[in-house]
Symmetry: C2
Subunit: 515 residues, 2 copies
Amino acid sequence: MLLYEQKLQLFGLWDTDRDIPLEGSHWLNMDNLIKALHSKGHTVTVVRTTKSWCTKEESLHYSFSTIPVTDGVEYEEFVKRIVKKVIDRVRNDWSLYFFMFSSMSKVHKHACDLATAVLKDKDLMKTLKENQYDLVLTDPAWGAGILVAHYLQLPLVYNVRWVISREGHLTIAPSPMSYIPMTLSGLSDKMTFTERVKNMLFYLLFTVRDRLTLRPQYQAVCDEFFQPGVDFYELLQGADLWLMRVDFVFEFPRPTMPNVIYTGGFQCKPAKPLPQELEEFVHSSGEHGVIIMSLGTFVTEFPHDIADVIAAAFAQLPQKVIWRHKGDRPATLGNNTLLVDWMPQNDLLGHSKTRLFVAHGGTNGVQEAIYHGIPVVGLPLFFDQYDNLLRLKERGGAKLLSMATVDKNNNFLEALQDVLDEPSYRMNMQKLSRLHRDVPMEPLDTALFWIEFVMRHKGAAHLRTESYRMPWYSYHSVDVVLLLLGVVSVLILLLVAIVRYLCVRKCLKRKIKSE
Amino acid sequence: MLLYEQKLQLFGLWDTDRDIPLEGSHWLNMDNLIKALHSKGHTVTVVRTTKSWCTKEESLHYSFSTIPVTDGVEYEEFVKRIVKKVIDRVRNDWSLYFFMFSSMSKVHKHACDLATAVLKDKDLMKTLKENQYDLVLTDPAWGAGILVAHYLQLPLVYNVRWVISREGHLTIAPSPMSYIPMTLSGLSDKMTFTERVKNMLFYLLFTVRDRLTLRPQYQAVCDEFFQPGVDFYELLQGADLWLMRVDFVFEFPRPTMPNVIYTGGFQCKPAKPLPQELEEFVHSSGEHGVIIMSLGTFVTEFPHDIADVIAAAFAQLPQKVIWRHKGDRPATLGNNTLLVDWMPQNDLLGHSKTRLFVAHGGTNGVQEAIYHGIPVVGLPLFFDQYDNLLRLKERGGAKLLSMATVDKNNNFLEALQDVLDEPSYRMNMQKLSRLHRDVPMEPLDTALFWIEFVMRHKGAAHLRTESYRMPWYSYHSVDVVLLLLGVVSVLILLLVAIVRYLCVRKCLKRKIKSE
């Protein structure tokens, strides 16, 4: 294996553009993987736009190719609009869904523009071809990387949680809607009849959206650059390897495929010592311990009234609190609460004094809570955050609140007290932590092993079914069932005809006889 | 982990009875696993009958509990009857299928008798309860172990390839009949329309057989010993872990489940040096190398005419041949052919002089051929042997012959020469060997890790969906689809009614006006 590590190169294509939210946690995850690949001696090229927000030129662990893409909506403005809608109490409201739906369509429009810009850039494509990369690594939440991989005829590896608009498994693995909850539905894997109806409606809604608004955009790029008959959805399903950013400690058990490798929590690490000042603050909490609160990088603004309620609740607790909060200092802030711009979240979650994590429910934060076994009070905002937190709640490790009612009836304080006082929350999270860590190989090492596997064998064809190439009616055996039903019907009709013929003959004979 | 290895005990239940074919390769595989568990410090108890054929009292690596079961058909007679039918040229004939079908029903009758005998034995069950085992390990090709595990309320681990009468995946994972070939159908994962019809017919046949003749037998034991409502098929599907004796170098890619662990080829080991006499014979083959032939433990008799044709074909080759053959010495035997009663098959397959393996296609032999990268000429006899060999043929590593025509038109000699002379067979098998060996963890170590995982966590509930408890119409969302279709129909009817009402009203008004 060492032989290959030095000899081969790895090509990572990643849709980074400050105009569209292709970054955030998606990029952080990819960055982690690329760093690990670099440390194993691989050379990684990242394709990015001039306006890229997260990928810095000065990064030392990979080389860049920069693609100029000039127009686009303001990324920050886009996020701010979503957050504002959420804070305006429309969580759980259809208007938020439709807003998200229409926004996502725009986002994919930008991804297609990016793909077109990349594929049109003759010099770039020539360089990429000449470099003879071993594979393309991409996040299929946006489709540009898939199209470039096909152009370059290279093996394709996904670092994946979402595919275009659906949870990754929905695209690659059989997913009976009777126990596979759709994201955004807020359902678990055990549903009542009504919930199954709701789940099916979500499935239909997403499928129609996918077919009508998202796929055609990417198909148009296919039609422009590739031979007739190249189907974008087949390219998407044809990836060699899917490094799925979940595991079954987090995700509900469900069907999967041989080329899906579970790498959930691959970014989690044992805690490093805290900076001295922070360690002193944490240590001063004594036996009561520390609560940490972070709603991720997206939520920079926070309405005063909610911030006041949260601060007031914290002030009533004997614990110390570290709160990642960028807005004005809430009037009700207690002495026990430290406001910070940024926190070493993983190191704090792994600290022995940490008792509780108030989180928005991004996949990374939830995985870190599982890794360190810290119970959660969840304040989901948008995207998959509610569903992520629901998975902890179902296992008895979290309590969920809605942003719409967090400031009502002491909701927030009661949730904090409940999770702090009831030992089962911590015990359940510790159990999840033990299960998550009890694996034959660390998730990051697993990811690296399988990426290098694809490099060594130039793909992973033996793990990948090509059944997705079948027409839907063949895949689901509709044609076969219709034929068999037809044959059975004909046989029954024949039988009936024969019986009738015999009866009629008999009757006629009897009639003739009697006459 | 070491802590557990000394403290806990493992309980293996295994249906061994010399009267019914529960042994053969099934037992050899289990024995391998138990040896490995024993070498890791686990205590294993095997439940067996007094007439057990394969499990020897003098085994040192586990302790026994012996269950007296007295009646039963003669196992050897059963196998001889099958082999005779095969040799009588009924391979590919429906009469063989029906013979196998009816025989299997009898075999399961005996398994149920065994389960009843075990569950009725109050002293034994008391001892088993008191021993506080950590889990039950069983091969679900027969159901007795499943029933005893439920009685003892212990976690259940399968060492599995077949479940009652179906390939293991068909019971646990979604299996679209459009690309999952049924065993005995002789089909691959890429089928024409006609082949898909054939596959569906096989599926229906097996399903009907399963429901009408096999399941009711086990259900009767359930009804006798357990509370009402305990469904045998649910017990069967509810196992914590499935150690599946295939991998995707052997099996076609297909959906799977999180609690299926692939341990295909776990019995394969690097070759040990051969006994001196055999090594001298092999070495004497020079550049031409050696062919080895074995049709497994079942085929002890072989018709003279076929044996003569095979011996004559071998005699025309420059290679040396080692042939496991127990019958009379064929008249046409050449000087280059050595007849043996038994051979160190794994060590011979791993020898650098070995060029070709003439095999009957048992799973173990095929896995060993893959492990050592040796091309195969296949002479399948019964059960899954044709399908196993087909998997090698589809990857370009084997040529298949039918027993019915092996002695016609130089078929056998031509097949041998073809595989020896055409380098692609060897290259393809070497490729499969590389893929099979390129794993993060050896299959045997993987099996041991996950068995111990179930011991540490008292099951593997988080990897196991409980969707099998749903009624079939809910699992397949038939009820939801019917409701939605109903709602849509009512809406359409309402719309039509309103339109008609408006039209009628308009017409009436016009009529009144015109009047």
